[in-house]
């Protein structure tokens, strides 16, 4: 059925908002209003307050950091002193007084003028430092070498061994770990001087590692347990 409203518009009955739309508007308004409220709380209260806390914590951290850096600088300075101290100890400990060694050695050779035990004169003397080991190798095993060659006033080999024994027993030898067996060769002269024969010899002494007096003694290996045979 077709209905026509003949009343002029000002006299017509106003139509109410449809219910669905009304509910939608109300719900929408409530939702938006709630969200606005939540947003305002979160943004202007929570976020602001947490940022203030962060600012204060940051300021505290900067202050602590400055003091902490000063403490670390002190520690660094202490470590630098200790590194230098260690280096100085190494320098001082790894030192041989060669004037003392040479003085002692010359006394051994001279042997207070005695010629019976042995009587020698030298041709060459050389002191060499230890060879540098590679990066992967462990510490030095020798402090260098002390080599000397010379002549004995007789071709008796026993005189050379006497010299060797005298070197080993003297305080001169305390910084050495081994002395080589003597190389020996008889030499004959025809210049009219005495003795007309001499024994040419040579020795090599290996020094203990420099600073050996301050090194800890090597740890003893535990004894191996023997198994009983049944």
């Amino acid at each position: 059925m077709i209905s026509v409203n003949l009343l002029p518009p000002e006299y017509r009955k106003l139509e109410a908002t449809p219910l669905a739309r009304f509910i939608a508007i109300v719900v929408g308004a409530i939702l938006v209003a709630s969200e606005l409220g939540v947003y305002a709380y979160v943004h202007y209260s929570e976020l602001r307050s947490i940022r203030e806390v962060r600012g204060a914590t940051d300021a505290e951290y900067q202050n602590k950091k400055a003091q902490g850096d000063a403490s670390l600088a002190l520690q660094k300075e202490i470590l630098a002193y200790e590194a230098r101290r260690t280096a100085i100890q190494q320098v001082a400990s790894r030192r041989i007084l060669w004037s003392r060694k040479l003085d002692e050695f010359l006394d051994i050779i001279h042997n207070k003028g005695d010629r019976h035990e042995y009587f020698v004169w030298l041709e060459k003397l050389q002191v060499s430092p230890p060879r540098e080991r590679g990066r992967r190798k462990r510490g030095p095993t020798s402090g260098g070498t002390f080599q000397f060659q010379g002549f004995s006033g007789t071709t008796e080999f026993s005189k050379v061994t006497n010299l060797r024994n005298a070197v080993r027993k003297d305080t001169f030898f305390r910084d050495f770990q081994r002395i080589s067996p003597p190389a020996f060769e008889a030499v004959i002269y025809d210049d009219g001087k005495v003795p007309a024969e001499a024994g040419k010899f040579g020795f090599t002494l290996d020094l203990k590692p420099l600073g050996w007096e301050r090194m800890p003694p090597p740890a003893k290996k535990p004894a191996k347990k023997k198994r009983r045979k049944r």
Binding site: Y61, S71, I78
Partner: protein, 487 residues
């Protein structure tokens, strides 16, 4: 425009509500994210604060330890030269060479191969030198002993001695090679040195003292050479021609001469024995001034006797067996005993007094004013003998001793300079730049006299030229005797 239908309006309404709600929801979500990030940042900062606080808690202990290290730093590095002082190293070597008698022929840096690839990261660095020199065994031993006893540490790392040659003075000199190493440190221990508040007060804290007790300060070892007593040079071939028995024509004159020589030595030994007996008496009486004079005299007799004995043994003067035996029994044997006595007496000698030091200083100053360099150096040699190279003196005399050493050095430099025999033949003086003709060579201020650069022209005046060599300024007046400047 057609009106929207109800459905469309509904959809529109819902859509707008969803859009606005969604937008707000997204903003809320973002703010929540920001809050979470801020909370995380706060947690991180708290962690860092805790770490910093741990370091801060250690400040008191570290301050005491740093103070302890700073206070003993100078003592620890006492025997190391600073980087700026290394320039004195060569001057020191030159002085030791002169004092011991060796002659340095070459100094080169030591190019040592390293087995490892790592560079040294030590807090101190080393300076290596190889020196070639020439001298007797005794001179060489004295040289390396001076080096090793020097207040700054210098290590002898290697050396070699080969057979030598006898010179015109009958002394055998050897070619010697020596490798030395000294060490330097930088006074700047760290990039940042923290200022410690109330430093002076904290220095006396018990914790600082405790650290001082724990830290061991290295001492440099030194060695005093044994007094050489007829010890032969082991590098000299000791084979000799057979000894004569004293029988036969032509031997009487030689024997008589050698008899007289050995008798003279025996008499010297007796004189020395008597002198030491007098020393003992003076010591018992407490007459220290006469004791010092007697010790000096006995020392001179001892040195002269020692030189004579060494010459006899080196030159094999005695060729008759009975004379050789008498020499061994009546000279060498007693001499060893006398040497021990002298050593004992030396140890009880009082240090040289300020008055004695002043006397030597005055005599050296007078010699300097009179330009008598030989006398000045002689006085200094005597001073060194008396004071054991300036070590056995009272504290108040140390400054004078240092001045005397300086005067001696300047005298030596001036003596060397005078051997050049410079002659200033002409001076063209001008305020803008003068020219001097020295030994036929035209020189201006700043020029070096020789290619070696040892002597520099410092100043040219109207009738004089001032030269500078090895830190000493020497004035030469044209046509007159040379004048020197006092220290």
């Amino acid at each position: 425009m057609s009106r929207l239908s109800e459905k469309q309006l509904l959809i529109l309404t819902v859509g707008i509500a969803v859009l606005i709600g969604g937008g707000l929801g997204f903003m809320i979500f973002q703010d929540l994210q920001a809050i979470q990030e801020e909370e995380q940042a706060i947690q991180d900062l708290k962690g860092k604060i805790a770490s910093a606080q741990k370091e801060i808690d250690q400040i008191p202990a570290r301050e005491y330890r740093a103070i302890a290290n700073r206070e003993i730093s100078d003592q620890e590095v006492a025997f190391l030269p600073e980087e700026t002082e290394i320039e004195n190293f060569w001057e020191i070597l030159e002085r030791f060479a002169e004092d011991s008698g060796v002659k340095i022929s070459k100094i080169t840096p030591n190019q040592r191969r390293r087995g490892g690839r790592q560079k040294s990261k030590s807090a101190i660095s080393s300076v290596d030198q190889v020196i070639r020199l020439r001298g007797t065994i005794d001179e060489f031993l004295s040289f390396i002993n001076r080096i090793e006893n020097h207040e700054r540490i210098i290590n002898v790392s290697e050396f070699s001695i080969s057979k030598g040659e006898r010179g015109a003075d009958n002394l055998t000199r050897h070619d010697l090679k020596l490798a030395l190493r000294t060490f330097t440190y930088s006074k700047r221990i760290a990039n940042t040195i923290v200022a410690i508040p109330h430093y002076e007060k904290k220095k006396d804290h018990v914790e600082v003292k405790r650290w001082h007790r724990r830290i061991k300060i290295e001492q440099k070892e030194s060695y005093t050479l044994r007094t050489l007593m007829g010890r032969r040079d082991p590098f000299v071939d000791v084979r000799r021609y057979p000894l004569k028995t004293g029988v036969g024509p032509g031997n009487e004159e030689a024997r008589a001469r050698q008899d007289a020589q050995v008798q003279h030595l025996v008499d010297q030994v007796r004189i020395l024995q008597d002198g030491l007996d007098i020393e003992d008496t003076l010591y018992e009486r407490g007459d220290l001034s006469r004791l010092a004079r007697m010790q000096k005299k006995n020392r001179e007799v001892f040195n002269a006797l020692f030189d004579q004995m060494r010459r006899v043994q080196r030159d094999q003067v005695f060729t008759f067996r009975p004379i050789t035996e008498r020499f061994t029994q009546e000279v060498v044997g007693p001499f060893k005993e006398l040497q021990k006595r002298i050593g004992l007496n030396e140890s009880r000698r009082p240090p040289v007094s300020l008055t004695q030091a002043q006397q030597y200083h005055q005599r050296m100053s007078d010699a300097f004013d009179e330009q008598d360099w030989k006398r000045l150096r002689n006085e200094f040699r005597q001073w060194n003998e008396l004071s054991r190279d300036g070590t056995h003196i009272v504290e108040e005399a140390k400054l004078l001793s240092a001045e005397m050493a300086k005067m001696n050095r300047q005298a030596r430099v001036i003596q060397e300079f005078e051997t050049r025999q410079l002659r200033i033949s002409a001076i063209i003086f001008s305020p803008t730049g003068s020219i001097a003709v020295v030994n036929g060579k035209q020189l201006i201020e700043g020029d070096s006299l020789d290619p070696d650069g040892l002597v520099i022209v410092m100043e040219i005046g109207e009738n004089y030229v001032i030269f500078e060599t090895q830190g000493v300024e020497i004035k030469r007046v044209q046509g007159q005797q040379p004048k020197r400047r006092r220290p």
